[in-house]
C-alpha cells in the first residue's frame, strides 16, 4: 500500500467517524420531530469545523507516523519522499469528480425535499449529510482506483 493509499484510508476512517457522529446526533432529532435551530446550528458548526481540522491533522499525523515506521523498518533515517506523480494526480482528480457528483445529487435531493414540504432546517441538514457522504464516496473511489490501477 503506497503512502497516498494510507493517507486516503486515514481520511476515509475520519470521514466515517464524522458521519456516524453526525447521524447519531441528527437522527434522534428527526425521530422526535424536534428540529431545534440552535442545536442544529451547533451540530453543523461542530461537524464542519471537525471535518476541516481532522483533514489537516490526519494528513500531518499520517506523514509523521509513516516516517517513523519507515525509519524503524529500514533502521536508518532518510528524508521521506512522499512524491505525488501524474498517476496520483489523475486518481485525485477522479476522486474529486466523484465527490462533486455525489454532492450535486445530494443538493438536488435536499432541494426536492424542501419543495415537497420539508422545513429549511431539514434541507440544510441533508446538505451537510450529503457533503460528508460525498467525501466518503470520493475516498472510496480513490482507493478503488489505486487498487485497480496498481
Amino acid at each position: 500500500m503506497s503512502y497516498q493509499e494510507k493517507n486516503i484510508t486515514v481520511s476515509l476512517f475520519s470521514h466515517l467517524l464524522i458521519g456516524v457522529y453526525y447521524l447519531a446526533n441528527l437522527l434522534p432529532m428527526i425521530q422526535s420531530s424536534e428540529l431545534v435551530a440552535g442545536r442544529l446550528y451547533a451540530l453543523w458548526s461542530i461537524v464542519i469545523a471537525v471535518n476541516i481540522v481532522v483533514n489537516i491533522i490526519a494528513s500531518i499525523l499520517t506523514n509523521i507516523l509513516l516516517t517513523i515506521v519507515e525509519a524503524i523498518r529500514s533502521r536508518k533515517y532518510e528524508d521521506p519522499q512522499f512524491i505525488e506523480d501524474e498517476r496520483d494526480k489523475l486518481i485525485g482528480l477522479k476522486g474529486i469528480r466523484s465527490t462533486y457528483f455525489t454532492f450535486s445529487i445530494g443538493v438536488l435531493l435536499s432541494v426536492f425535499a424542501f419543495i415537497y414540504g420539508q422545513p429549511p432546517l431539514m434541507m440544510i441538514s441533508l446538505i451537510v449529510l450529503f457533503s460528508i457522504l460525498a467525501e466518503i464516496i470520493g475516498d472510496v473511489s480513490k482507493i478503488y482506483l489505486y487498487r485497480r490501477g496498481g
Binding site: 497516498q4 512524491i83 498517476r87 485497480r148 490501477g149
Partner: protein, 86 residues
C-alpha cells in the same frame, strides 16, 4: 457514413491498457534495474512503474519519453500500441 472514433485519454487508462510496453525486459537488460531505481530516475512512485508494467496504466507522453531516455532507446522500443481489434 459515420466514422468510428476511438478516444484515448493520455495517462488515463486504468483497465487493461492498449498501450503495451517492454519496461520489464529493458530493466532486466540494464543491469537488472529495480522498479524502485527506475521510479527514482524518472520521478514517479514505484506503484506507477508496477501499474505500467502490468499494463493497467498508460503514462503521459512526457513520462514515456523520460523512460525511453533512461534506457537510451527510441520511444517505440519501449511503448507500442495494439488496437482493440487486433
Amino acid at each position: 457514413m459515420f466514422q468510428r472514433y476511438t478516444c484515448i485519454e493520455e495517462g488515463v487508462e486504468m483497465g487493461k491498457s492498449q498501450v503495451k510496453n517492454n519496461i520489464r525486459k529493458l530493466r532486466f537488460n540494464h543491469d537488472e534495474m529495480t522498479q524502485e531505481q527506475l521510479a527514482k530516475k524518472v520521478g514517479v512512485t514505484r506503484q506507477t512503474i508496477i501499474a505500467m508494467e502490468s499494463e493497467k496504466y498508460a503514462p503521459s507522453l512526457e513520462l514515456a519519453f523520460r523512460i525511453a531516455r533512461i534506457f537510451g532507446v527510441p520511444l517505440e522500443e519501449v511503448f507500442y500500441y495494439t488496437p482493440e481489434d487486433e
